[in-house]
Amino acid sequence: MKLLRRLVPHPLLTLLLTGTWLLLVNGWSLNSLVFGFMLGILIPFVTQPYWPDRPRISRPFKAIEYVLVVLWDIVQANIVVARIVLFKPNSERRPNWITIPLDLKTPEAITTLAGTITMTPGTLSADVSDEGHCLLVHCLDAPDPEAVRDEIKQRYERRLMEIFE
Amino acid sequence: MNHLLIAPVLLPAIVAPFIIMVVRHHMDLTRIFSVASTVLLAAVTLALWAMAADGTVHVYELGDWPAPFGIVLVLDRLSAMMIVLTSILALPILLYAIGSGWDERGANFHALFQFQLMGIMGAFLTGDAFNLFVFFEVLLIASYGLMIHSGGGRRFQAGVQYVVYNLLGSTLFLFALGTLYSVTGTLNMADLAVKAAEMPADDTALLRVGAVMLLLVFAIKAALLPLHFWLPSAYANAPAPVAALFAIMTKVGAYAILRMFTLVFGPDVAATTGLSEAWLLPAALLTLIAGAIGVLGSKKIGRVAAFGAIASMGTLLIAISLFTETAAAAALYYLVHSTLAAALLFLVADLVVERQGPWIFVNKPMAQTGLISALFFAAAIALTGMPPLSGFLGKLLVLDATRGADLAAWIWGVILVGSLITIIGMARAGSILFWKGHGLPQDEEEPDETDGTETGAKPAHLPFVACFALLGGLVALTVFAGPATNYAEQTAAQLYAPADYIQAVLGKEAQ
């Protein structure tokens, strides 16, 4: 078991890579699967020193839900932002900084949250605080910063807490 | 299909990575492998020389693809001569580098040295124009490394100039090759020859541009004025053994001109006639004068050697630029001579620099003055073309071969006046270095305490062995001038009868 853990340090990554290979070769065949799986084992093994600790994902199915939520938000927010960009005069726009205190602790979780914020239009993660307890978010147009903060914490951070911690 | 043809390229190409990988941290082992490889290389090239001596053109089809579709190596008398010259030049230089401790003053000297040899060998052996470019780059990039070996502000600055200037040259090379390919649809040199000869008379302009750009590229390497500016500071600032090895680098340019402008754009090719008549010879004459004046005007011993090398390139290019068989024969003899002579002068200059610095100025007697001054005297005689060494014979051959030329009076005048200026310059340098300030030499020679020779175990006589080996080469070239010129004549004859070469490379497809 220990040997297996050393050989396959990141099982999820191995799966991800195998899937990636199939995506890359753009087709499904036994050869591809076998070969992709071999690479999926080899590459994490080779790169293991750069990722010494192993992130825990406690509830993988929550992750799928999360992805769907984010995708939907992206589509929705894109339209909002497009309207702001196209039609809202600069003078009426209220850009704002928001500080989001973090309950998340692990770097993987924080990064996912920050990435989500950036990918959903209208908000953008700009920085973390010097000890990593807060996230600095910039809003394109946020007359009410508290509302945005609460929504982020509610909609994303809560779900990520469930997934990662 | 004789695999020996690829050996001069493969041997250093394998030894160099081996040195880097396995014995990089063991200087002694590195030296042993480097010397052994070079000795073996000399043996291989001599064997190839023997193969080529009967006039057969040997072809090696890499990847088993027929010419002109794949790349071929071609061994004829000229390439055989050049690879032999390279390997027998390399050996004493390598011994010098070891003996003088130059090789330990920076990392990876021996690997770069082997790579350099690989590049030169490749350039001499290839029968493909683009592959010539590749091997030019191999030898150039190795030379960049050797040039800045052991570092130092001024050397780096000279290195920047050297690299930038040569990169411009490499760019021009690509422009030229692109043009030639675009016109003829081929890269193989023999095939280019066939195509150039068949070029329609009303479609010559672009081929001419390509050909002349190629000539300019080679002229840069051959240090033809006004494309020679890279040479003085590069050679004068390079470590001595490297500068000595560089003596063959200018000859790569000379070789390439000889090769391409006899085989491909030879005197009989209608489309490219008159490309160089108007300017190549005058430029060569000016090169000789510039070199001679430089010898006289230099304040540093290294620059004296560098300008001496330029002057000798001037003489060589004069002979080449006539594009006649007899002049080519003279050029080939002179080429061998000037390579050995320039290398010797660089090494001797280093013996001086090691003892009293680079300036032509003396404030203290140096160790081993007698030996060094004798070597300097010999090197100066050789490079200035004074008897009894081969330089004089080479000069006579060139004069003799150029007597029929339109500008014969100019050629003779320039060669002779150039010799005179060089003689005055060398006498000036030599008398200041070895006479001035040397009152009465001590019989007891103090051990040399200058840096670079501090490693006690180092055999201090090795540098002298190297110098005398080069000198021995010059003497041999003098004594066996008959056979040597005979070979040169046969080589020139082969060059000016390119049909055999083309037939050998293209086989049945040749017309």
């Binding site: 087709g27 950036t118 010097d130 394109l140 | -």
Partner: protein, 122 residues
């Protein structure tokens, strides 16, 4: 059915085009640097996404083979765009803002970009 796919592909293309241009337009129109950062990283990402979806759908419906590898491009864009934005924002904070001009960093002292070596020595 085919016309439905055709319509979908065309729609994706139009949407993509619109978002693409909006993103780059925003880059010019928006008047403060931090806001400009929003335009491309969002709209362009969907713009490219639209094209990729169109391509995927197009290949699936009309091509000779099923093509999914466009997803890889999306994957890389989604992974890298936040980092790009993060860094450009940090450049902005570094060059244009001071500790004082920034909002409070909550329980921590300041934002990481303004972290200087002297702080670490404390």
């Amino acid at each position: 059915m085919e016309s439905l796919f055709e319509f979908l592909v065309a729609a994706f293309l139009v949407i993509a085009g619109i978002f693409g241009i909006v993103g780059s337009y925003g880059l010019i129109k928006l008047n403060d640097p931090m806001s400009r950062l929003h335009a491309p990283t969002k709209a362009t990402t969907l713009g490219v996404g639209g094209v990729l979806l169109a391509s995927l759908l197009n290949a699936a419906a009309f091509g000779k083979y099923f093509s999914v590898h466009e997803l890889m491009i999306t994957l890389f864009l989604f992974l890298t765009a936040p980092i790009t934005a993060n860094f450009i924002a940090k450049v902005h904070i570094h060059r244009q803002e001071t500790r004082e001009s920034m909002p409070s960093a909550g329980e921590d002292h300041h934002w990481a970009t303004h972290d200087t070596p002297e702080d670490e020595e404390q």
